[in-house]
Amino acid sequence: MGEIIELACRAGKIIVENGGETYRAEDTMRYVCAAFGVDECDCYATPTTIIISTNHGGEALSRMMRIKKRGVDLHKVELVNQFSRTIARQPMDAAEAEAVLAEIDGAPPYRLSVSVAAAACGTAAFTVLFGGCVTHFLSGIVVGGILRLLLWHLNQIRLDYFTINLLGAAAAAVCGWLFSFAGTLVNWWIIAFAAIMQMVPGLIFTNAIRDSAAGDLVSGSSRGVEAFSIVTALACGAGAVLILLGRLGG
C-alpha cells in the first residue's frame, strides 16, 4: 500500500518537474492508484508540491513530495504518459513499475553539443523572421550557440532562475553587439533578440493557460507569475545593456 502511493507520487513528480500540466500529473497519479486497485484516492499537484492521500479498506495513507527542480523535458512527460496508459491496460507488479519509472527519470536529455547546435540554428532562423540580413544570420549562429553554453554553465552552478535569465539576456545583448562589429551593423539588436528567444518562457506560458482553463487556478496563476518574472528578467537584462551601449554611442 505504501509503495503504491510512493509510486504514484513519483510518477506525478516526474511530470511536474519536467514541464507537464498539473491536471496531467493528477490524472497520472489517479491512474496508477486505480491500476493497483486503490479506488479512493485524492491527489493535489501544484508546480511546487504534490500531495496524495488514499483510503483503502478504512486505512488512510498520505504522502507529500516537495518539488524543487523545475525543468523542461517533454520527452519524460511523454514517457510517463505512456507508462500510465500501459499500466491502466495491463497491470504490472510494483517492483516492475518502480523500475520503469526509474528508467524514465534517468533518461538523458540531448547532448550539450546537440543543444548548442540547435540554439545556434534556432537563433539564426529567428534573425530571418525579425527581418535580418545575411550578416545577422551568421552572427546569430555564433551568438545563439554562445548563449546556450553560458546558460548551461549557469544552470550547472545552480543559480536561481531569475538571475540566470537576467544574466543570460544581458550576455546575449553584449554578444549581439560584439558580433555586429561593435554595433555598426544596422539593427544589430535583432541578433540579441533572436538569441534571447530561446529563453522566452513559451512552455510555462502555455501551461499557465492550460492549467487555468482546466480550473487549476493555483497552478495557473503561479505559472503565470513565473512566466511574467522571467520576461521581466529578460527585458531588464537586455534593456540595461542596450541603454548602456546606446549611451556609449554604439
Partner: protein
Amino acid sequence: MIAKTIFAVIATASFGILFNIRGLNLILAGINGGLGYLIVSVSTAGGAETYIGMFLASIAMTALAEILARYRKAPATVFLAAALIPIVPGGRLFNFVLHLLEGDYQTAAADGITTLLEAGAIAVGIIAVSSFTKVFLARIRKK
C-alpha cells in the same frame, strides 16, 4: 512569406530540441510552428490587426496539436509549446521595455497594450480549443 514560414519551421524544431522533443514529434511540432507563423503573416498582410492573426493562429495550432496528440499518443503540449514561440509577441515586449527605459512613455504604453492584447488573443485561442476538445471527447466516449 513562404521562405519565412520555412524559417519558422526550422526555428520551432530547433527550440523543440531544447525542450527535449524527440523523433517525428519534433518535425510535427516544427510544422505546427510554421502553420502559426503563416496564418499570422497572411492575416497581417490582408490588413487585419496582429492580434486577430494571433487569435486565428492559436486556434489552428491548438487544434492541430490536439489532433496530433491523439494520433501520436503524446501530450498536446509537445506539439504546442515550442510552436507558439515564433508568434508570441516577444519583439514587441522588448520594444515596450526599451521605450519605457528611454522615457518614451507614450510609445511604451501603446506597445504594452498591444502586447497584452496579443498575448490575450493567443491565450483565448488555446483555452477555447482545449475546452471544446475536452467536451467533444467526453461526448464521443459516452457513445
